[in-house]
């Protein structure tokens, strides 16, 4: 059973801003510029599932270049030094951090999964019986990045296809 979602686009944007300030753009020179385009393309994505008081998924998606740049910023190295393992690890951690912060805003009784990383576009993902309820879509140094929340429909039993 899911409650009405209590996390809106502004909350999500604030969490995303904190991640940029802390890790991706500590100097404050290249923030995520919102495009509000929920259909923007991606090449890689990561997600965490939340179950319990709210049930759904938090998804981070970006271009390969933006993922590489994120990994470079996290690891304080040059983008061309980033390995595929670094890239996957950073994508997973980004979904985990944002998902964890989303969870903190939900009513008690929500469980967060470990992150899943897929080095393929977000459009290849299928979350059965869900609908996108909010998201932050933007460009980071000219590369697409999006963070979205997908809610499971309340009338479906968990695990039902």
């Amino acid at each position: 059973m899911s409650v009405e979602v209590e996390v809106n686009e502004n909350d999500l944007a604030e969490m995303v801003e904190q991640v940029w300030e802390s890790y991706l753009d500590p100097e404050g020179v290249s923030p995520l510029m919102q495009t509000y385009d929920e259909n923007q393309a991606s090449e890689v994505h990561s997600s965490v599932s939340i179950t319990g008081s709210w049930t759904g998924h938090v998804v981070y998606a970006s271009s390969q270049q933006a993922a590489r740049r994120a990994a470079a910023a996290f690891l304080a190295m040059a983008p061309d030094e980033v390995s595929e393992e670094d890239l996957s690890d950073v994508l997973g951690e980004l979904a985990n951090i944002i998902g964890g912060n989303v969870k903190a805003m939900l009513p008690p009784g929500a469980l967060l999964s470990l992150p899943q990383v897929v080095l393929a576009p977000e459009t290849t993902a299928r979350y059965p019986n869900t609908q996108r309820i909010t998201g932050v879509y933007g460009m980071w140094d000219g590369e697409p990045v999006s963070i979205s929340m997908w809610q499971s429909r309340g009338d479906n039993k968990e695990g039902a296809e």
């Binding site: 904190q18 300030e21 996290f74 690891l75 951690e93 985990n96 964890g100 903190a104 008690p108 929500a110």
Partner: protein
């Protein structure tokens, strides 16, 4: 002092280490564990002075690791560095004997505030 950092993300362990350095605690002996089970084993074998642990990890979660250590009579200083921070988790952490709860994303200032009294 010896500090054990337990997180299943290698990248996050590196960020915790970097942030410890930025906060002025880089001179301590820093060791790493990739999940709760490893954290328990390394706490017993390496005898760290402080454990910084993620919450959500494969094999064994951070809270289970803390409970196992306390059940075994180990009273190492232990705290969480996690992206999750609900009141129920903070209560569980405190009840299990955790000293602090740092939420990701974190800053060097936050590390300094929490660790200065512990590490001196």
């Amino acid at each position: 002092m010896k500090i054990l950092i337990a997180d299943d993300s290698r990248v996050m362990r590196q960020i915790v280490i970097r942030t410890l350095r930025q906060a002025g605690f880089g001179d301590h002996d820093l060791i790493e564990a990739a999940n709760g089970r490893e954290a328990v084993e390394m706490t017993k074998s390496e005898n760290p002075d402080l454990v910084l642990s993620d919450w959500n990890m494969p094999e064994m979660s951070g809270i289970e690791a803390l409970r196992q250590l306390r059940a075994a009579g180990n009273d190492v200083k232990f705290g969480f560095v996690t992206s999750e921070s609900t009141d129920e988790m903070k209560e569980q952490a405190e009840a299990a004997g955790a000293l602090f709860f740092i939420v990701k994303p974190f800053s060097a200032e936050r590390f300094d505030e929490v660790f200065a009294p512990i590490l001196g």
